[in-house]
Amino acid sequence: VKPLQEPTFLILTALAAGPQHGYGVIGDVERISDGRVRLRAGTLYAALDRLTSDELVEVEREEVVDGRLRRYYRLTEPGAARLATEAERLRRNAETATTRLRLAGGAA
């Protein structure tokens, strides 16, 4: 399985907390990444389009607020599994890096 790109990983992470609309995802991703990743609309919807067709994400509901369409997305079961796999992969990588750095620091 190919590793997820960071924006995709962050979008799935944002949706793991519950269904959100596009603007909600942008704000959440910015919070999760400590302001480092600010998704623009083109990037967000290209990713959502791909994730929905890969069935990792699905449309939960639509509503009209102030005459504007809002579409809420949620994580599917395969999406949650994919995110869990990726989180585990990143955790193991981070752990290995930390352990090795500690060892290198101890030897010096």
Binding site: G22, R40, G42, A46, V65
Partner: protein
């Protein structure tokens, strides 16, 4: 509606219709208030995003009905061109006109295309497709073993053009519902325009050029004194009719078959440079680019075949 909204709606036309409304809401919220247009980064992101969405959707739809319809009309256009080439070939053998640079006659390939069309229209699709592939592939040994002396010459490039067109035709017929479907898609009006154009083109191509006044340019015999020659006018009017019959930009399949036909016939369009040569600086670049057209059509059909096989494998597993 604000100026910003009007402009954003224009940008969002790059996206499929089902995405536009929700994106508009997000853009209006995220773009700083007081702005009348999206900034450079937002605009670049919109273009890149639209490209990714469209390309991915296009690739996913390659094995689907819209592209299969597009291949049906491409199959019709290429089969018809091969039959017209046969008519031109008859003209050259029947009248033995000395035409400098005339490509070698390719009987094994050209002769069966009338039969290919007839079998297809009679509903004998497997026979038609088999014959089309046999006719197209019969060119491989011909080009490999007998054309070395013609390497890098106009004769070889003309033969390779017809060979590639035959492969495109065979592939399009294999991956589509066939010529009957193509005629149904074009409709009666366009069918009449198409047949009128084709008759004119065949007449123009099939008439005898004055000895020594013609030259080849990738398959079409064009006369040098075109402005005095009614054949030129007939060819142009006929080509316009054929183009009008095929071009259809109002439907999803129509846009695709129009694009496929244009890229498949790019070398013939390029050959029209014999009438109005492009600027010297551009000519080599255009000549180098023109073979990419038919190769693009082949690449699209290759990707469609892969997608179709994947779907079938998924549905059987």
């Amino acid at each position: 509606m604000s100026t910003l909204e009007t402009r954003l709606r224009r940008w969002l036309r790059l996206y499929p219709a089902d995405r536009r409304e929700e994106m508009l809401g997000v853009l209006l919220t995220t773009i700083e208030s007081g702005r009348e247009r999206p900034g450079f980064r937002d605009a670049a992101d919109l273009v890149a995003g639209a490209f990714r969405v469209r390309l991915r959707r296009e690739i996913r739809s390659l094995g689907g009905p819209v592209w299969r319809d597009a291949f049906a009309v491409l199959g019709l256009a290429t089969t018809v061109a091969l039959v017209a080439a046969l008519a031109a070939s008859f003209r050259d053998t029947a009248f033995t006109v000395a035409v400098p640079g005339t490509p070698a006659l390719i009987w094994p390939m050209w002769a069966p295309w009338l039969l290919v069309a007839a079998f297809d229209l009679l509903g004998l699709r497997r026979t038609s497709i088999g014959l089309a592939w046999a006719a197209a592939l019969s060119q491989v040994p011909w080009i490999a073993f007998t054309q070395f002396d013609a390497l890098a010459s106009d004769r070889l490039s003309a033969n390779v053009f017809w060979f590639v067109l035959a492969i495109i035709s065979a592939a399009a017929l294999s991956m589509s519902p066939g010529l009957r479907r193509a005629f149904a898609l074009l409709g009666r009006g366009r069918g009449v325009v198409l047949l009128t154009g084709l008759s004119g083109l065949t007449l123009a191509l099939g008439s005898v050029p004055a000895p020594g006044d013609a030259q080849w340019a990738d398959g079409l015999v064009l006369t040098r004194d075109w402005f005095h020659n009614p054949r030129w006018a007939l060819s142009v009017v006929s080509l316009l009719l054929v183009t009008a019959a095929y071009a259809r930009l109002g439907t999803a399949a129509g846009r695709r078959w129009t694009a496929l036909i244009v890229v498949s016939f790019v070398p013939i369009v390029w050959s029209a440079a014999i009438w109005t040569p492009p600027p010297a600086a551009l000519a080599p670049a255009l000549e180098a680019v023109s073979p990419l057209g038919p190769l693009t059509a082949l690449a699209v059909m290759g990707a469609a075949a892969t997608s179709l096989l994947r779907r079938r494998r998924r549905s059987t597993s």
